[in-house]
């Protein structure tokens, strides 16, 4: 696989009411990878996310109402298809992904169709505990077997997609909660795409706090499990048949 160049790379940033951080993150991305194009998908925000992102130099697609990360990402993939980008990198608008590592993810596309930025792979000090941690471990085991590669952080939203993955995801990108992270891996591996991971640093979110409350963790675990079961039992015909060439 030829290495996609950064100038053919689209950085997609789903943003829902991220006025506090979106402008800074866009500027940081532009600084880190000036050749890449930045698309902020405003997922029905009620604040100034669109205006601030535009002023910071990003293209902005504004969804009329909130669709969730899955809807925002598919919008990004469709934009990438229509403009002919060779790589799409998803970056969160809350600043927890380090734009300096976008280039690392894109480099990974030389050997795989989908590259995940993994938070537990030895770099950085991102930690989580309790049921949420167990859920992530179980998910990683199951998905590693399925995709025949070692994945340690399957719910990472920091990921890069190559040309084949872009074509697939422009058609099939689940909108359900957690579908955007877990189910996309199942869809990709069933469609014959190769998946790999690279270790990345993760920063503390500048907006919002990650949840560590036990009830929330339990709900997260249940939903993650359900998402995985449905993804695995979904009829293949719905995506695998229209093969990605």
């Amino acid at each position: 696989m030829p290495l996609p160049s950064l100038s053919r790379t689209l950085v997609v940033m789903p943003a829902f009411n991220e006025a506090d951080s979106v402008a800074d993150v866009v500027r940081e991305v532009v600084e880190a990878v000036p050749q890449a194009h930045v698309l902020v998908v405003d997922d029905g925000s009620r604040d100034d996310t669109t205006e601030l992102a535009r002023a910071a130099g990003a293209s902005v697609a504004r969804l009329p109402f909130n669709l969730g990360v899955g809807g925002a990402m598919r919008t990004g993939f469709r934009y990438a298809v229509s403009k002919g980008f060779d790589a799409v990198v998803q970056v969160d608008a809350d600043g927890q992904h380090d734009p300096a590592e976008i280039a690392t993810l894109v480099d990974g596309l030389a050997a795989a169709d989908l590259v995940l930025g993994a938070r537990f792979a030895g770099v950085g000090d991102y930690r989580t505990s309790g049921p949420r941690r167990w859920a992530m471990v179980v998910l990683s085991r199951v998905l590693s077997r399925l995709t025949r590669t070692r994945l340690t952080d399957t719910t990472s939203g920091f990921r890069a997609s190559g040309p084949r993955a872009i074509r697939l995801f422009a058609e099939h990108y689940p909108a359900e909660y957690l579908g955007d992270t877990i189910e996309t891996l199942v869809i990709a591996s069933r469609s014959g795409l190769t998946i790999s991971q690279v270790p990345v640093h993760m920063r503390v979110r500048s907006g919002g706090v990650p949840s560590h409350r036990p009830v929330k963790s339990a709900i997260y675990l249940a939903r993650a499990g359900l998402a995985l079961i449905f993804a695995l039992t979904r009829p293949r015909s719905s995506h695998a048949s229209e093969g990605v060439r």
């Binding site: 998908v41 293209s59 697609a61 504004r62 969804l63 669709l67 809807g71 919008t75 934009y79």
Partner: protein, 123 residues
């Protein structure tokens, strides 16, 4: 069974059928959604006009009290109607999502074209 309750049964069954047919006629209900309601109305009408059929059907499937068969059939039909509605809702949500994405992309494309035009006429 008193004459009053006999008539009440027939009138309510006819009312259900009349409402369904009227909605269909005005185009407020599509055929495939109306099937279950029609079925319910017709069954109710038959059972109301000939209560003997209900007793016969109850004995056939081994239900002791014929009224219980009515409850069972009503619940089953309502269950399927609700399930079908949920499923249709899912299809609609999927379409709405696609339209929303498309509208966002078209809006962005218009903006890009306008910007390009402005730049071209400005310089």
């Amino acid at each position: 069974m008193s004459t009053a309750s006999y008539i009440l049964g027939i009138v309510s069954a006819l009312l259900v059928l009349a409402v369904v047919v009227e909605l269909l006629r005005r185009g407020r209900l599509r055929e495939r959604h109306a099937v279950w309601w029609m079925l319910a109305g017709l069954l109710a009408l038959v059972a109301a006009v000939f209560p003997a059929t209900l007793t016969w059907a109850a004995r056939l499937v081994g239900v002791q009290v014929p009224t219980n068969l009515v409850f069972f059939a009503s619940t089953a039909i309502l269950f399927f109607v609700a399930l079908q509605s949920s499923s249709e809702l899912t299809v609609l949500e999927k379409r709405v999502r696609t339209l929303a994405e498309q509208s966002a992309l078209l809006e962005l494309r218009i903006r890009e074209l306008e910007d390009r035009k402005k730049k071209a006429s400005g310089s």
